[in-house]
Structures are given as structure tokens and as C-alpha cells.
Amino acid sequence: MIYFDYTATTPVNEEVLASYIQTTKTYWGNPSSLHKFGVRADNLLNLARKQMCELLDANNHDVIFTSSATEASNLAIKGVAYRYQERGKHLITTVVEHPSVYNTFFSLEKEGFEVTFLEVDNTGRINIEDLKKAIRKDTILVSMMHVNNEVGTIMPVIEAGEIIKNYYKIIYHVDIVQSLGKIPVSLREINADLASISAHKIYGLKGSGALFIRKGLELEPQTLGGSQEFNLRAGTVDVPSAVALAKAMRLILTDLEKNYDYVRVLNNKMRSILSKYEKIVINSPVEHCSPYIINFSLKGIKGETFVHALEKHDIYVSTKSACSSKNNKASRVLLAMGRSQELASNEIRISLSHLTTLEEIDIFDNVLQEVMQELA
């Protein structure tokens, strides 16, 4: 099998899984329990939080463990909107956000919040001037992704943070799901109040995510019950998943630079293979882009057909993001980047990893030639 869909999800790292299993077997106490067995689980949980904050240069933050980055982003966005709506009901995000963010804003809009969706240029980046212009007296939240999950574009999150920090009323949420472990991330440098992450994108486990929250920031909880997770997310905390997430973060960040350099080599090779074909238009920009993602459109070939053609050769790529690929619609992101309806509808995403080998890319090179002839 040749897997080119690491942006959708990743295989679990053996060491992470070992930690998960050991924690499940040894520290299965409830961290909210008063007894020693529970206290031990709680100690472990807090060490995990601490380690995660250190890894993201976020010493002024706490960590709330969630079931996914989607839940984390929902909690962040709705939590801020409902908590601070007395201060204003204007929210800012971009048109290229992941559905977990985009649809949350869309739903808030229906509820009476006013949302400015910032447009992007043909590389998928917002213009920082547009953000400045969009900020109003009643703006309470800006939410922006760090790396776009479909095309890999890196957003100017640090520059945005520089602007937002001058407005004490505005809370800043960053979706760092696709940047974590791939490019350097410092919440201090970004000036982020909130940041969402996912475990299974960094060789951790499915069903595990987290929201980093600046200490002292209040949110309206979206799940009610016990007082777990600073009263922000009721429900018994999943200590093994938390431990596994902290470990996955540590392991992936240890090799960040080495992996980045390696994947850049892979990316260059992949790009030169793809550019051989007239029917392939590469959408991922050259600058301000994560090397882990290469997005392209097919002229005159259906994306779905292409995916299945490669699948026959045991090669797995994605058409649009996994979270939206079931709706047979054009890519919102590519349309926003000014691509035609046809190109936007026939999008393919190849995503790489430090686990990808040069041989795999060579095989892909040959298979692609075959497939393109077949589908022509």
C-alpha cells in the first residue's frame, strides 16, 4: 500500500500506542477521585498538560482535552461567542477554514451573530490589510487556520496576532491542526488565546484532541456536567488519550526540522512529476505553503474517477478534505482561490509524511503515467 493521505489521518506511532496501553492498564483511576489511585491519574494528566504547553511555547496556557479538534474549535468559537456576546456580536474568520470552524461560524450567523468571512488571494492567503479593515468596535473573535488542510497554504497568523493583540476585546483562535508537528508553532509568537489540535494527525490516536486556552480566559462551556477541565468540558477525562497526545506531540516535535527538510525533497520530486501533465494544474502555492500537502486539479477528469483508478494500484490519495469529500460539490477553498467550477470540482490532494519513501514516489510516477493514459 502506498498511502498519500496523511493529512486525513496518520498511522499511530508504536511508542504512543504503548503509552496509551500502559496508561490504560496502570492509571485507569478517575483523575477527579480523591483517593491516591485517582490522584496518581490526575498527576499524570497534569504532567501531560504541562508538557504540551511547553512544547507549544505556551506557558501562559492551560489545556482542555477534547474528543477531536472539531470539538475543540466548536468549544473555542461558540464558547467565546456566547460568553462575550454582551461586548459585541461581530466575529471574523476566513472563507477557507476547515468545516469544523466554517460551519460553526455559519451556524452562529444564523443565530444572529454577524460574521465577516475574509476572502483569500489565488494562493489561498488572506490579505492582512483586509483583517485590519474588518475589525470593528463590536468584534469579539478572530479565528484563523494556520495551515490550510486542502492546499497547504500557510496563513499570516503571526502578523494577524500582532494586530489583534492591540484590541483587548478581541479573542484570537488559531486552528493549528495541520501545522502542528509540520512547521514550527509557538503560541506565544502567534499571540493566540486559543488553539485547536488533533492527535490522529500527528501519529496519535483517533478520538483525541485538545484546546489550548490562555489562563484566565473564560468560555461558555458547551458540555455541562461535572467540573472537569476547569469547568469547561464536563465528563470524565480520558487520561490515557491525554498521555498519548502529549507523547505524540513530543515525538513529532523532536524530529520537526529533520522531517521538514526530508519532506521538502519529496515535495519537489512530486511537483516535478505532476508538472509533466498538461491535464494537471497544481493548486498549492510555492511560497507560504506546507511541503506536506500538494493539491492539484484535473482538467477533464473527474476527481473521484482518478482516486479509484489509483486505488486499483493500492495507492491512496484524497479528493478534497476527508471531512467534506462526501458532498459532491466543488471545493469551497479552490473557488475562493479563484479556480473555475470545473477545476474546483476535480481536486486531488496528495499529502506526504516523513514515513513516505522515495521509492513510493517512483512507483507513483509510473502508475500515474499509466492512469493518465487510461483516463485520457
Binding site: S19, R40, L44, L47, V243
Partner: protein, 407 residues
């Protein structure tokens, strides 16, 4: 760093007549021992004074240690300069500026051991006083009722200048007059009682009663942490904790005696055990945190009923203190925050709804005959656990596992 040395004055022991020398030697030994961690210090002791030569060590570090030694009356910081009038004047200004921040009545006093110094003592005082007044704010000359005296001591090799006297901890040197055994529960009062007997020179060790599983390891850890705090005031930085396994005895009490007499009889058992330990290990007194009337078991009738079982002197330094006075001391000696940690101890488990306030002595004796407590006391003593505690070194009994491989 303008200070060269610290002058230490002894307290009450200077009136101790023929034992004086012994007291002073003991105290000097304690000071030197506790300051061992600063190897650059030198010590000079003569008569009623003791000098610590700083050799560059910050005086705050040293004073922090001295502040935990009983028997010291006060300290002064001495600056040193060459024996000539200009240097003396300059240094006097520096010292005044360092130590005097609010309006203060002051005078200058000069001692001239170096008789060939060209000016007389009085002349030096006048010269320095007028120089200091010109160069410092906040000073008012008052030779009759000064708040601060600028002392100048002129010697041939050097001149020493001291001003303020910093109060020491007072009391008597710990460890001069035998040992006492402190009953330490984990509450607020007993550590304070320990500190107060230490203040009168009593070296203490600690007896604690634990009833696992009714009391938790956290409760025991608390006691070890409290003992560590008290060890800081000990002359040799050490305290021994005798941990008495009390579960069986405590259960027997609640099985064989009416519950309203439970606490009174439990205290009687504790006294009996403390007395046995004291006799075995040569403790001359027993101390505890009992305070008159604070809780039901501390009424005068209860104190009498409890005290009946022993002939040993029981020292209760908190007996006449109000709770707030006790808390103030607990805060000062850094035990309050430990004491208020919410873990059950022997005295808080099995608390009856209505403990007897006026126990009948005959009844106490009669109920105790219901079971063979002597055997249970023997058993507890045979299983006595002895833990050595050193100041500033935490003994951790709650295993902190190494979790780093998981993360």
C-alpha cells in the same frame, strides 16, 4: 556589600551564672553548625559577643539562618573601614543611607580602643554626626533618646561601624536542657506547641499516631513535613518521628467503650503510649497542642481525666493561647499551610456526635477494664516505626513514580 561582619548578641543566657560558659559554647557550636553550608564564613567568639565574618557572603543569607536559632538576642551588621577620619565619615554615611529610610532620632557613639588615634571619642562622634547630618535625610539628633545609635569602634587595624540592632529569636539555646517528646497530630496547634517548647531550649522529637486505612498516607506525609519544619529550629537540624500504629487500639476503644467517652479514652491511650516511648528513649517531658476549651476533649474536666494516666510533666504551650494567636505563630513558622491540608488524622476519625464534656474518672477507668488495652499498647510499641527527619530535606513517602517514559 558594605558589611564585613555580623555581630551576634546572646539573649537571656548571659544571666545564667556558672552555666554561662556551657550555654555559650553550645550556642556557638549551633551557629557554626547551621552555617556550615557557607564555607567562606569565619567565626570569632569572645565574651558575650560572637562575630561572623562574611568574606563576601550576602548578609541576608546568614541572617535567614540566624533567625531560626533560639538563644540569640540580636544582631548588628558591621561595616569595616581603615582607621582614619575621612574613611570613617564616608562609611558612616553609607551605613546610614542603607539602614535608615524613615525619620529617625539618632546619636553617634565612639569607642576608641586605639588610643593613639588623633581625636578623642567625643571629637570623633561630633565630627561624624555633623558630616552624616549634612549628607543624609531623615535624621534628627537626639543624644538622650536615640532610636538608632551609630556605633564607631576604632581599632588600630580597622574601624567597625554598626547601627541598627535586629532582634533575634530570643529564647534559650535548643538542646541544652534535655529532650521532650511532642505529640504531633497534623493539626494547627501541635506544631506550634513544638516550636514554643523549642523556644525554651527543649530539643524535641515527635510521636504521631496513625490508623491506616482510616488515616491516609497523605496524613502521614503531612506529619513528616511538619516535623521537617520543626527540625529547622533544632540545634542539629534533626528530628525523629515515632509513628505509632494505632488502628487496633482505636478500633478496640470504639468496640468496648461508649462512643461519647471514645475521645477521652483515646487520649488516655495516647498519653500512655507517649509515656512509654518517653521513658524508653529518655525524654523528660511530653508536649502537645492542647488548648483549654478549644474542643470538647479539651475542657478542664477532660484535661484532668486524660492527664490522670501519667506522672510525666505535660507541657501545653498553647493551653492559654487563642486560636488566632496560634495561627499567627503557625504562619510564622510555615506550618499553617501544611496543617490545613484536608486529610483525616486519628483525632478526626470516629468522632462521636456528643463527646463527653465532663467525663467521670471512675467511668473512664471502668470502661478501660472492658478490654486488654495493655496488650494492644505493647503491640503498637513493638511495631513502632522510627523515621529520621532532617531540616530542609523532605522525606517523601508518597511514591512519585517516574512517569516520563509514558509522556
Amino acid at each position: 556589600m558594605i558589611y564585613d561582619r555580623i555581630l551576634v548578641r546572646y539573649g537571656e543566657l548571659t544571666i545564667k551564672g556558672k552555666n554561662k560558659k556551657q550555654f555559650i559554647n553550645h550556642l556557638n557550636h549551633t551557629i557554626i553548625n547551621k552555617l556550615k553550608k557557607f564555607p567562606e564564613l569565619e567565626f570569632i567568639g569572645h565574651h558575650e559577643r560572637f562575630y561572623i565574618i562574611l568574606n563576601g557572603r550576602n548578609h541576608h543569607d546568614v541572617i535567614e539562618v540566624l533567625d531560626k536559632i533560639f538563644g540569640l538576642h540580636s544582631y548588628s551588621l558591621a561595616a569595616k573601614c581603615e582607621t582614619n577620619l575621612d574613611d570613617i565619615k564616608q562609611l558612616s554615611v553609607k551605613v546610614i543611607k542603607e539602614e535608615i529610610k524613615t525619620p529617625t532620632r539618632f546619636k553617634v557613639e565612639t569607642k576608641r580602643a586605639f588610643k593613639r588615634f588623633p581625636l578623642t571619642s567625643l571629637e570623633v562622634s561630633k565630627e561624624v554626626a555633623s558630616h552624616v547630618l549634612k549628607n543624609c535625610d531623615n535624621l534628627i539628633v537626639d543624644v538622650n533618646h536615640p532610636e538608632v545609635t551609630l556605633n564607631i569602634e576604632i581599632r588600630e587595624e580597622a574601624t567597625y561601624i554598626t547601627t541598627k540592632e535586629y532582634p533575634g529569636l530570643g529564647g534559650l539555646p535548643v538542646g541544652m536542657d534535655g529532650k521532650g517528646l511532642l505529640m504531633l497530630s497534623g493539626g494547627i496547634d501541635s506544631p506550634v506547641a513544638g516550636y514554643l517548647v523549642q523556644k525554651r531550649g527543649v530539643a524535641i522529637d515527635v510521636v504521631h499516631f496513625s490508623s491506616p486505612p482510616y488515616t491516609s498516607p497523605q496524613a502521614k506525609q503531612k506529619v513528616l513535613d511538619l516535623a521537617e519544619r520543626l527540625a529547622r529550629y533544632s540545634h542539629n537540624d534533626r528530628i525523629t518521628v515515632y509513628n505509632v500504629p494505632f488502628t487496633k487500639l482505636q478500633k478496640a476503644i470504639y468496640q468496648y467503650c461508649p462512643s461519647n467517652y471514645g475521645i477521652t479514652i483515646m487520649r488516655r491511650m495516647m498519653y500512655r503510649i507517649a509515656e512509654r516511648i518517653a521513658l524508653k528513649y529518655n525524654y523528660l517531658i511530653i508536649a502537645n497542642g492542647e488548648s483549654i476549651g478549644q474542643v470538647a476533649s479539651q475542657t478542664l474536666q477532660n484535661l484532668r481525666a486524660i492527664n490522670e494516666v501519667t506522672n510525666m510533666p505535660i507541657i501545653r504551650p498553647c493551653a492559654t493561647l487563642d486560636k488566632l494567636e496560634i495561627i499567627n505563630i503557625a504562619n510564622k513558622i510555615d506550618t499553617y499551610d501544611i496543617s490545613i491540608l484536608p486529610y483525616e488524622d486519628c483525632c478526626t476519625i470516629f468522632v462521636p456526635d456528643f463527646p463527653v464534656i465532663k467525663p467521670d474518672l471512675d467511668k473512664c477507668r471502668a470502661y478501660e477494664k472492658n478490654f486488654n488495652y495493655e496488650e494492644l499498647i505493647e503491640e503498637a510499641l513493638n511495631n513502632l516505626e522510627i523515621i529520621k527527619i532532617k531540616a530542609y530535606e523532605r522525606v517523601n513517602i508518597l511514591e512519585d513514580e517516574d512517569l516520563s517514559n509514558l509522556l
